[in-house]
Amino acid sequence: MKSFNELTARVLLSMVASVGDAQLHDQLKLKSATQIVRELLTSQSTLQRKSTYLKRLPQDPLREVHDALAITDGVGARVVTPSDPLWPSALNDLGPTAPYCLWMRGPLELAHQDSGCRIAIVGARAATHYGVHVAGELAAELVAMDCVVVSGGAFGIDAAAHHGALAADGGTVAVMAHGIDQIYPAGNATLLQRVMETGVAVSELPPGIRPTRQGFLARNRLIAALSAGTVVVEAALRSGSASTVTRAGELGREVMAVPGPVTSAMSVGTHALLRDGATLVTCAEHILEALSPIQLSI
C-alpha cells in the first residue's frame, strides 16, 4: 500500500482539520504532516479534536486525496505546501490559522517579492456606480505602479478591482472561498477565467467544496494576510469587509478606506473605519504612501 507524503498528508489535513487548530499547528512545527496523518489513521493521535477529524475522514483517505489531486491537475491548478518554494511566505504571519496547503490556479507567482507589492481592494457586493468606478480606477492605478491587486472575486467592488487590474494588463489575485475547480459566483465566470489566465486564483479548500458563510469569513483572513494593506472602497454598516480589515489590523497590515458621500448608505462602513483610524486614501499614491517599509516587504 502506498503511503502518505508531505503533500498528500497536508491535502488530507485540509479536508478534515479545522481552520485555526492551534494544537495541530504546534505539532506541525515538531513533526511532519505525514507522521501526524499516520498517527491519526492508526488512532495514536494525541490531538484533542481527533474524534471530529476521524468522523470527517473519507472511507479511503489516500484514494480521496489522489482524486482531489487529479481534479486539481485537470483544471490546471497546483497544490503548494509551506515547504514549497512557491509558498507565499506572507501566509506564515497567520500563525496558528495558516492554511495547511494552498491551491493555486494561474500563472502569477506569489512567492517572490519581484511579483510586486500586493494590495487588497475589497468592499460591498451591492456597490454603487461610484464604488465600482473608484475600485476599478484604484486597481488600474495600482498595477500601473507594479502592484498586484488582491480581492475575493465577488460581485460589486471585488469584481471592479479585478476588472481594473486586468484592464491595465496587471496582475491580480482572486482568493476563493470554495474549491479551486469551482466557479463562484457564476455571474463572474468570464472575469474569473480571465483572472486565472494572467493572474492567479487561490484557495485553501480542496476541490469540490462549495462556498459557505463560514468559508467566506475564513477566506477573508487569507486576503488580509496575502496583502501589504487592505483598502475598503464601499461598505454598508454591516459588511463582510469588516472581518477582512480586522484580520489585516491584527496582522500588522495597513487598513485603508475610501470616503464616499455622507448621504450614501454604501459608505457608512468606510466612514466608520476612517473614524476608527483607518488611513484615508483616494488614489494609488495615497496607498503606497501609507505603507511602511516593513509592510512594503510583505
Binding site: 456606480h129 464604488g131 454598516l237 458621500p261
Partner: protein, 513 residues
C-alpha cells in the same frame, strides 16, 4: 328590390375604415339577419333599431331583412352603427330618399326610445372619414363639438332618430355647432413647481427634460419627492401643436367620454400606471377592438413609472420599441391596429426593494444580493434610452424651513422651456436636420464636424474626465449639453454646459447592476 345604403366607420386602432351599411328588404320568410363579421353588440343592434324605429313613429317592415356591413373582413364592434342601420332601413323602406344621405358618414348608438346616444371614438372616425373624402358626418349631438375639431367636414348633430329624419328631409335645420374654444393655453394642471420644496437638481432635470425631450430617471428614497416632481413635468412642457392636440384627443376619445362642450385635450397627458399592470395594459390590446395602452394614452405627454424595478421585466422591455419608433402595433388575427406612442418616459426607483436603505440602514431588511437584483431589473437597452439620471435626497431641513430660495413657478419655467424648444426646432429647420428633439440626435451627428458638434474646448474637457469614458455615455452628455445651451440661449454648448450635463447624469449613488 329595395336596398338602402349608408356609411359608417369602424375603428382599427386610431385609424378608421369606411364601412357600407346596406339593408335589403326582400319577400320571403319574415326575419332579420346581420352579415359581415358583426360582434354581439352589433347583433343586438337589430333589437335596438327595431324598438327605436317603432318608438319614433316608423315601422319595422314585415319582410325578410338582411343587414350587411362591408368590407366583411374587419370585425365590427359595438353599437356605433345603430343609427346608420336605422337610416339605411328607412331608405330601403322608402321613408327618406337615398340621395339625401349620400356621401355622409353616420355614427351613433340608439336608445329604445329613438334617442341618439354619445359614442366613443368619434374624432378618429371623423378623421378617417375626412381622409376617405367624406364631406358630411352625422353624429350624436353630444359628440358634435368633438367631430367639428376636424376642419372641412360638415357636422350634423342629432338628438333623436326622428330629429335625424327631419333634418335629412329638410323639415328641420341642423343645429349650429359652436366652434371649439381655442383660447389661451390651458393651465388646469397637476400642481405647480413652486409647491416642490428644495430639490433644485430635480427641478433642473425636469426643465432640461421638458426642453430637449430627454427621458429621465429619478433615484432616491421614498418621500424624497420623485412623484411630486414627475407630476409637474406636463406643466412646463412646450405648448402642444394643433396636430398633437388632435392626436391626443383622438386617443382620449377611444377610452373615455369627452366633455361634450370642450372635448379638445390641449395639455400634455400624464399617465402613471401601477407597477402591477399587464403587458396589454401598457402597450394596448384587450379582447375585441384593441384599446390603446398607457404608452398611447401618454402620447405627446409623460409616462411615469414609479418604482420602475417592480414592473414586470416584459412590460418594461415592451417600451423599447415604441421609445424608438414613436408608435406601437397590436396584432390581431386578420388585422393590425397601430397606436401612436411618442411619450416622454420618467422612471423612479427606490434604493432597495424595501425602500428604507439609507445611511443608517437600520430598518432595511434587504440583502446585498436583493439590492443588486433590484438594480438589475431595468435592462441595459432600456437604460440606454434614458439621458438624464438624477439622485433625489430627502428634503433638507434648510429648504423645509422655508429658508431656501423660493423656486420658480411652472409658468416661468414653461416660458424658458418654450424659448429653448423653439430655438432647438429652429436649429433643426435651418440645417435641414430630420430630428424632433435634442434627445433623438444620433451620436454620429454629435461627435462629427457638422452643425451639431459641440465646441472643441468642451469636448477636450469632457475627454479629460475619467468618468465619461464610454462613448454612449459621452453622447448622452453631449445631447444634454445641447439642451442646456438652448436653455441658456447660446449657439453652441461650451465647457459650462458640458460640466452641468455631467452632473445631470449622476449614476454614482445608484446600485451598480
Amino acid at each position: 328590390m329595395s336596398i338602402g345604403q349608408t356609411h359608417g366607420v369602424v375603428l382599427v386602432g386610431v385609424d378608421g375604415v369606411l364601412v357600407n351599411v346596406e339593408v335589403d328588404l326582400a319577400d320571403g320568410v319574415v326575419g332579420t339577419a346581420i352579415v359581415g363579421l358583426a360582434d354581439r353588440g352589433i347583433n343586438e343592434a337589430k333589437d335596438r333599431v327595431r324598438s327605436a324605429l317603432v318608438n319614433s313613429g316608423q315601422r319595422w317592415p314585415a319582410k325578410r331583412v338582411t343587414i350587411s356591413l362591408s368590407p366583411a373582413w374587419i370585425p365590427k364592434v359595438g353599437a356605433v352603427t345603430d343609427l346608420a342601420i336605422a337610416l339605411a332601413m328607412l331608405v330601403a323602406d322608402g321613408v327618406i330618399p337615398g340621395s339625401c344621405i349620400e356621401n355622409t358618414v353616420v355614427l351613433g348608438e340608439l336608445g329604445l326610445d329613438g334617442q341618439v346616444r354619445q359614442v366613443r371614438g368619434v374624432l378618429p372616425a371623423v378623421l378617417a372619414a375626412h381622409r376617405a373624402g367624406i364631406k358630411r358626418v352625422m353624429v350624436p349631438i353630444d359628440n358634435c363639438v368633438e367631430a367639428s375639431l376636424v376642419t372641412d367636414v360638415e357636422v350634423i348633430g342629432v338628438s333623436t332618430l326622428a330629429h335625424a329624419c327631419a333634418i335629412l328631409t329638410d323639415q328641420q335645420r341642423p343645429p349650429t355647432v359652436h366652434p371649439v374654444p381655442t383660447g389661451p393655453r390651458e393651465f388646469a394642471r397637476r400642481g405647480d413647481l413652486t409647491e416642490v420644496v428644495g430639490q433644485q437638481l430635480g427641478k433642473r432635470a425636469l426643465e432640461v427634460a421638458a426642453a430637449g425631450g430627454h427621458h429621465l430617471f429619478f433615484h432616491g428614497p421614498p418621500g424624497a419627492g420623485k412623484t411630486m416632481l414627475a407630476e409637474r413635468l406636463p406643466s412646463i412642457m412646450p405648448a402642444l401643436s394643433a396636430q398633437a392636440a388632435l392626436e391626443i384627443t383622438a386617443i382620449r376619445s377611444l377610452v373615455e367620454d369627452l366633455d361634450p362642450n370642450s372635448p379638445l385635450v390641449s395639455h400634455p397627458p400624464f399617465e402613471a400606471p401601477h407597477h402591477t399592470m399587464t403587458l396589454a395594459a401598457m402597450v394596448g390590446g384587450g379582447s375585441g377592438r384593441p384599446q390603446p395602452g398607457a404608452i398611447s394614452r401618454a402620447h405627446h405627454g409623460v409616462l411615469f413609472l414609479d418604482e420602475a424595478p417592480e414592473f414586470a421585466r416584459s412590460v418594461l422591455d415592451s417600451l423599447r420599441e415604441p421609445l424608438e419608433s414613436g408608435f406601437v402595433r397590436v396584432a390581431r388575427s386578420g388585422f393590425v391596429a397601430q397606436f401612436p406612442a411618442r411619450f416622454q418616459l420618467v422612471m423612479a426607483a427606490n434604493p432597495c426593494p424595501c425602500g428604507v436603505f439609507d445611511q443608517r440602514a437600520l430598518g432595511c431588511t434587504c440583502t446585498p444580493t436583493q439590492r443588486r437584483r433590484y438594480a438589475q431589473r431595468i435592462s441595459g437597452p432600456l437604460l440606454d434610452r434614458i439621458d438624464l439620471v438624477v439622485q433625489t435626497h430627502s428634503v433638507d431641513r434648510f429648504s423645509m424651513l422655508g429658508q431656501g430660495q423660493a423656486g420658480m413657478s411652472s409658468a416661468q419655467v414653461a416660458e424658458r422651456v418654450q424659448r429653448a424648444a423653439d430655438r432647438m426646432l429652429q436649429r433643426f429647420a435651418e440645417n435641414a436636420l430630420p430630428f424632433s428633439s435634442n434627445a433623438t440626435i444620433p451620436g454620429s451627428a454629435l461627435r462629427g464636424k457638422g452643425p451639431l458638434a459641440v465646441s472643441l474646448d468642451a469636448l477636450k474637457w469632457l475627454r479629460s474626465q475619467s468618468g465619461a469614458s464610454s462613448s454612449r455615455g459621452l453622447d448622452k452628455v453631449l445631447r444634454i449639453s445641447w439642451t442646456l445651451a438652448d436653455l441658456a440661449g447660446v449657439d453652441r454648448p461650451g465647457v459650462v454646459h458640458v460640466q452641468e450635463a455631467l452632473s445631470l447624469r449622476d449614476e454614482g449613488g445608484r446600485t451598480a447592476a
